[in-house]
């Protein structure tokens, strides 16, 4: 048995640099309903010491209509939903910018992710790779934006000799 690695040798083939012309829009797969179990597991396992996230009594006293889901869970799920299309064969995480939460998420809400290619350039240091930047918006089941951010990743090139 050999390592399948990220060779794309079977099943869904990852997108390459050439598949990311600026302006291309991706409507990402699946969607994800956030349950109370997801929210409690994530908040407690990542030390979120914010009682609004795990104490319904405190959340109600605070005037909230329910226990808010950790925004970091929202970010993780929305980014997770983008990975197969955008960065599954990419390099290590390079960073994210302008992560902005525009609306709270509560138990029972369903998250979706949509992205656009904002820019790309060949990698200066890694032959055969490029850097692609995307802007992503996370929406709920009503289509209301709950989150937006921008991130970049190293992406493999099909043709390492091309220079643009």
């Amino acid at each position: 048995m050999t390592a399948q690695g990220d060779q794309g040798s079977r099943g869904v083939a990852p997108n390459d640099y050439e598949d990311f012309p600026p302006g291309r829009i991706f409507r990402h797969h699946w969607g994800r309903t956030i349950t109370g179990a997801d929210a409690i597991l994530f908040s407690t396992q990542t030390h979120q010491a914010q009682p609004a996230q795990f104490n319904a009594h405190y959340a109600a006293m605070s005037g909230l209509p329910g226990r808010p889901v950790s925004e970091l869970l929202t970010f993780s799920v929305v980014l997770g939903l983008t990975v197969e299309d955008l960065s599954e064969s990419g390099g290590p995480f390079l960073g994210a910018d302008d992560i902005t939460f525009t609306r709270p998420v509560f138990e029972g809400d369903t998250l979706y992710a949509t992205s656009v290619v904002s820019e790309r350039r060949p990698s200066g240091s890694r032959r055969g790779w490029g850097v692609v930047r995307w802007r992503t918006i996370g929406t709920n089941q009503r289509g209301e934006p709950v989150l937006s951010y921008s991130r970049a990743s190293l992406v493999r090139r099909r043709d390492p000799e091309e220079t643009s």
Binding site: D6, T46, A52, L72, L79, G80
Partner: protein, 188 residues
């Protein structure tokens, strides 16, 4: 101590305040695999050790910790001191991981208040903007981010917290206070 710390309202933070947060976190295999899969992340660099031999020439010997999980752990380690009374997380204007994290690494987090003068959307809370840095025990910087969070103001929230605490703890305190064998007091 009450429901939350009495010194963790918006008024308690000032630009330039620094914090070295007390607890650390050793990255467990479950942190990476369970939380990556829980959050629909399909990059097998987070959950397939075998795939690492074919990834970037095999330069990483083990799966890389999901950056979203790294961010959550770093922010979480700051949360009791910084955002215990948060009504909402507003955003992270920048987030970098200058070095990767692996299972077995231990991180500690530190915070520095950058601003408290951003106009908030509501008058019972303020916007706390602070920088979070997380380092491994050897000092390597692994998470560098800024966070903006909406924190309750002391007025009107502290008295509401005290009312709630009186309600939920009151009966037990009265029972314990009348008990003959309470610690540190002699029975009559």
């Amino acid at each position: 101590m009450s429901l939350t710390g009495s010194d963790r309202f918006f008024e308690d933070y000032a630009r330039g305040d620094t914090f070295e947060h007390r607890r650390g976190h050793t990255v467990a295999a479950a942190d990476n695999q369970m939380l990556s899969l829980l959050t629909m992340n399909t990059a097998q660099t987070h959950f397939n050790a075998d795939s690492m031999t074919g990834y970037l020439g095999g330069q990483f010997a083990a799966p890389l910790l999901n950056a979203c999980v790294a961010l959550a752990l770093a922010a979480g380690l700051t949360s009791e001191d910084m955002t215990e009374n948060a009504l909402a997380d507003l955003g992270y204007p920048s987030f970098r991981m200058p070095a990767p994290l692996f299972v077995g690494d231990t991180i500690y987090a530190a915070s520095e208040v950058l601003s408290t003068d951003e106009p908030p959307a509501r008058d019972d809370a303020g916007v706390l903007r602070y920088r979070i840095t997380a380092r491994k025990t050897d000092g390597t910087l692994v998470v560098d981010t800024e966070r903006r969070a909406l924190i309750k103001r002391r007025v009107p929230w502290q008295s509401r917290h005290e009312e709630l605490a009186a309600r939920v703890h009151g009966t037990a305190v009265r029972l314990l206070d009348n008990a003959p064998d309470r610690t540190g007091k002699e029975s009559p």
